[in-house]
Symmetry: C2
Subunit: 334 residues, 2 copies
DNA sequence: CTGAAAGCGCTTACAG
DNA sequence: CTGAAAGCGCTTACAG
């Protein structure tokens, strides 16, 4: 069974390809096609199950109704949830999503952008990697809508949507201090992206503002992408060598590794040790005792991203850059 | 900056479009293009940063190097992890993935297939919904490689890769019985897909084989897609109205809701209540006490799916259907 | 109110 | 060893 083309429909309906095309694209009125012809053609389309070839359409029009979504790692629950929300919202507006994971690797991210370019995606949603500045600038020069999210890039003028990582981190430390904690550790990663450095800055600033000293030995920077066993070893060493009465984990997967360590060394969470994890995870509510977390408003982030993107897509010209900073919420669970 | 076309390259190199095309597609040797011309053209391509327009290529060749991946819900960690593994493996072989979530909705699934069709994806990987049989049959008739995974469809002849849900479920119940449990509950969903019914059958069969009676009131079928609060209420009712000393949760998200209930009604997991969750989740290892789980070998499933797909993609003709059933493993954690 | 024709950027059978 | 030309399936400016 050969798939049908617009020509087949035109032949069947005894009209020109042009007429069929106008009808398919809802321009029948505007082009004053007669009611009778519209009905006839629509009926044939309906009955035959004809679907326009989007590839041909894209080639001709230069756009695709596809939005490229580039995240760090789709299997991380934060990104998986954001991706799903964005997918839903985009879908309702007639856009499809192609996603891919960068694994925090510049080369992979660049390849992805090139692939998306050659597929003529209409817009980009990117949780960027350092080193991608030039590529993003080129997209913007090409007049493509680009929204960065989760983390910003210092040297690039682009729209950005993200949580206020600095203040969420600051508040977390404040809450430890209010509980009388003094030996406050931070377990974070070594990737040099804004959302991670902000969390670090918030930690440091809060300590200093409350008259505590910042001690390097209480900050553990885990190498990104290393296997979990090594991460667990390093965290174990931290707890064995330092006196710690509170700890902020800068990502949810680090917190999960950290909780495994605490369980294995039988360190009780509670009065003697307070814990906050950045980015919620099902495991934290369930944990005994419940683990306090910083929650980013996923729904609001996804909605803002899509709104910004759609407004750019409809107004041909790129709007002035907007940075939308959304507050994150500290959920205390014990 | 206008994007370059093959014509621009041809003009710059002072050769025909045909020659450039042969070189780009690695057919230079075969078409005996001279070494000098190859070098010259490659140099120009390199310097100009020219990337062939994949849309035009797809229109011409009828394929896209894209694989469509249709899952139930990309934000579920099982699917997110499988998607990521498949993405990695496909990427290495030069294929990209477009994914989308069906939300267990036939209409949405059909729309997705249509969208993928009109984008000329080369192959389909589908965790199907009941009611999709006809659509899948049409794909196969169109000679498109299709791999079903996670769940099979009874009335359709397609390649399938999935875990042995029946036997994993059976073993779980066996392990309860070995611990002397007699009042064994099952919390499952009401969706009528093979992997869920198999888990139910395994439960029932094990009970009967060991001389226990199957009691309907110990099986709770949660409506798919209902909000978590209702799920929690129903599970709470089950535990309040029945005497239960062991429970198998048929999905990881049901187990998470279930554990919240047990926590809230202060029912201790251990000697008086055994728990097994189907599909692992970070929360289960971390839970105190650790929750036993059935683990599907994600890596192996993803690898098998890709292998089957690629072998179909390369051998023009569709291979006879294969069903690859991979054993799942019961991990005891307490 | 409707149609013929150009063109989007490729690939490839055919010719030389 | 290389090129001119048809054609994939659309959209749209132009003509009538």
């Amino acid at each position: 069974m050969k798939t049908l083309s617009i020509k087949d429909i035109a032949v069947k309906a005894n009209v020109s390809i042009t007429t069929v095309s106008f009808i398919i694209n809802g321009k029948a009125k505007e082009k004053s096609i007669s009611e009778a012809v519209i009905k006839k053609v629509e009926k044939i389309i309906e009955e035959s199950g004809y679907k326009p070839n989007q590839i041909a359409r894209s080639l001709r029009t230069g756009n695709s109704n596809i939005i490229g979504l580039i995240v760090e790692d789709i299997s991380n629950s934060f990104f998986a949830k954001i991706a799903r929300l964005i997918e839903d919202k985009a879908y309702k507006r007639g856009y499809k999503i192609i996603y891919s994971s960068t694994e925090n690797n510049v080369e992979k991210a660049q390849e992805l952008i090139n692939m998306f370019k050659s597929r003529k995606v209409d817009a980009y949603i990117i949780s960027p990697v350092k080193g991608l500045e030039e590529d993003i600038r080129m997209l913007i020069n090409d007049n493509k809508p680009v929204i960065l999210f989760d983390r910003n890039l210092r040297d690039v003028q682009a729209n950005y949507v993200g949580a206020n990582h600095f203040s969420a981190s600051y508040q977390s430390i404040e809450s430890f201090i209010a509980q009388g904690k003094r030996n406050i550790a931070l377990v974070t990663t070594d990737i040099d992206v804004q959302q991670i450095t902000e969390r670090f800055e918030g930690y440091k600033k809060a300590l200093l503002d409350y008259g505590l000293t910042y001690r390097e030995e209480l900050v553990l920077k885990i190498h990104f992408n290393q296997n979990e066993a090594s991460t667990i070893d390093e965290i174990k060493m931290l707890f064995n060598s330092e006196k710690i009465d509170a700890v902020l984990f800068a990502t949810n997967y680090l917190a999960i590794s950290g909780l495994k360590v605490l369980k294995s060394i039988k360190k009780k969470i509670g009065a003697e040790l307070s814990v906050i994890a950045y980015d919620d995870h099902e495991a934290f509510e369930l944990h005994t005792p419940g683990i306090s977390t910083v929650q980013q408003p996923l729904e609001e982030i996804a909605e803002t991203v899509i709104k910004l993107l759609l407004s750019q897509l409809s107004s041909k010209s790129i709007l002035p850059n907007q940075e939308v900073i959304i507050p994150a919420t500290l959920i205390i669970r014990n």
